[in-house]
Amino acid sequence: MSAGSQAITGRNPITGSEIGNRAMLTVLALLIALPCVVVLFSTFKSQGDIIRNPISPPVPTRNVVLPESCLAADALGSKRGSECVQTPNVQGYRDANEAHILRSFKNSLLVVSGSVFLTLLFSAMTAFAVTRIGGATAGALFGLFTLGMAVPSQVNGITQYAMFSKLHLTNSLLGLVIVNIAATLPVSVFILTGFMRTLPKELFEAAVVDGAGNWTLFRKVVVPLSVPSLAAVGIFLLVMHWNDLWYPYLFITDPEKYTLPRTLAEFKGEFSTNYAALFAGVAIASAPLVLAYVFLQRWFIAGLTSGAVKG
């Protein structure tokens, strides 16, 4: 490459507005990264260090004298609390565990996997029906589901509670799965139908000529071809359901049945001054999606944006 073309294609000298741009981008980056990092650090810090050195990493601090009360015999039990430990420590995680965060983790896994799988299955089948039937029936079916996108669950949650309470489906993980499916069917049907309509018609006809029934056509042809959009909707549903507080708040009062966000919300009363435990809860509840996001960013961004675009 000659020196001349280098000058044209190479980096422009940094101008004033460019400095402004970079400053703006950096400020927002810090505004997002800093709180998250501080919260993660704090899970390993003593209460004293959280207050004294709010943004420092969880490295051992010198000359820390534990309060007198920590030396008392009863303070050496399991509930010593984060003021009686040195940085770094995992006392916050111990406290969170004692507040049954792992039990709720298991509940969340059950509810979310059931909700995501069944919503995907039911909405893919519906999208298939809409695509294949055509005409007014398809229009009516599609319209019925998509109208639901305009009704946030904060509007019908109260009456859903009344109905589920009558059916003895409150305080039940099954009840949560059912209401989750009902709440997210509209957007999933909408996205999946949009995708299946782009599949070439010949594909369906060829399969019909080969004597394949609708079920075979759905299972062997349509589902495999729809994997990208199923994955996008699946990620959207995963994030929605994993993070949902609304339905567990309305439907579940038995702590044994709490999902993660529900248990976490209770931490406010339980650990109001114990930030290490509170943030250990935040870290545990966020870890699965954060780890998945690190490796599957593109998929997450595409999936969650398809939810936004359509929902």
């Binding site: 703006m24 505004l31 990264a33 709010p54 589920f164 708040y249 309305l250 976490l264 960013q297 944006t305």
Partner: protein, 305 residues
């Protein structure tokens, strides 16, 4: 040569494919939505309470004319919605303009700005409770103290600033997601259009106003509509951060929170149902008005393809 398909598609078996979804959606979504209309005409304590009594439109009269807390809540909800829509749209648009090109730094920044979207609102509420905490343990208080500044902003503790703090948190939470929508919209605008404008001597602002903004209409429509719905749904932040307060101020009493309090706190399901119906009407009205406003502002929300 492809043969014409002989079998006429049978309707009934295909409808069976939609059956599971229809049953769940019909029973657990459509019926409850209409039940709100029905229950709103009754005085009812809710499930397990005494029998409901038909009182015609009495609940609506109370809500619309007498109930000052409900009216306050409607006002707070509209203010929150309006300000979140303005700020979130502006922030997302401003930053997306800097992140259109697919380079390594921009892809990284987009992923970073998007990050809060995958957190639960409960987690976000705790993070911001910590940032806003006016005690020694709060992040802002701590940073100010270590800088030698002896000032502790009240944040959530003052009725004057609490709602603004929630708005800031909401925008922090979701602006990255809306940036991605704008970036996709911007990338869909052919380069020739903006280049032609600048060759014709248009300034950057003129190019944006006359070329980019109108063509970005569909993306803007999506961002505004989604942000609006999202702001109406913001129950979790209020529940964890302010409980509608601080104190009895009702400064952050969003409708989503207020309706739950009416139903479960006051055991007034009939009234809560009436409030839900008003809420729904409000959402429909706001959505309708927004489309009109965007149209007047020259953004072609329906799309150009």
């Amino acid at each position: 040569m492809p043969r014409k398909s002989t079998g006429v598609i049978k309707r009934r078996p295909l409808l069976l494919f939609a059956a599971p979804a229809l049953v769940v959606y019909g029973v657990c979504f459509v019926i409850p939505t209409f039940q709100a209309l029905f229950y709103s005409l009754f005085s009812w304590e809710g499930p397990g309470g005494e029998d409901r009594v038909f009182i015609d439109i009495e609940n609506y009269k109370t809500k619309l004319f007498d109930d000052t807390m409900f009216k306050t809540s409607v006002g707070v909800t509209l203010k929150f919605m309006f300000l979140v829509v303005i700020f979130q749209t502006l922030v997302a648009l401003l930053f997306s303009l800097k992140l259109v090109k697919d380079t390594k730094p921009t892809i990284f920044l987009r992923a970073l700005y998007f990050f809060p979207t995958i957190l639960s609102s409960t987690a976000v509420a705790f993070i911001w409770n910590f940032i806003y905490d006016p005690s020694d343990a709060g992040l802002v208080s701590g940073i100010l103290r270590s800088l030698g500044i002896d000032y502790r902003p009240a944040f959530l503790a003052s009725p004057n600033t609490a709602l603004w703090c929630l708005i800031f948190t909401q925008v922090w939470f979701h602006a990255g997601q809306m940036m991605v929508v704008f970036v996709a919209g911007l990338q869909g605008i052919p380069k020739d259009f903006t280049e032609a404008a600048s060759i014709d001597g248009a300034t950057k602002w003129q190019t944006f106003r006359k070329v980019t903004w109108p063509l970005l209409g569909p993306a803007t429509g999506i961002v505004v509509a989604y942000t609006t719905l999202q702001s109406f749904r913001a129950f979790d932040l209020v529940y964890v951060m302010t409980q509608g307060g601080p104190g009895d101020s009702n400064a952050t009493r969003l409708l989503s929170y207020h309706i739950v309090q009416t139903a479960f706190g006051s055991r007034a399901f009939g009234e809560a149902a009436a409030e839900s119906v008003v809420f729904m009407a409000l959402i429909a009205l706001v959505t309708f008005l927004q489309r009109r406003v965007l149209k007047v502002m020259g953004a072609d929300v329906k799309g150009h393809n």
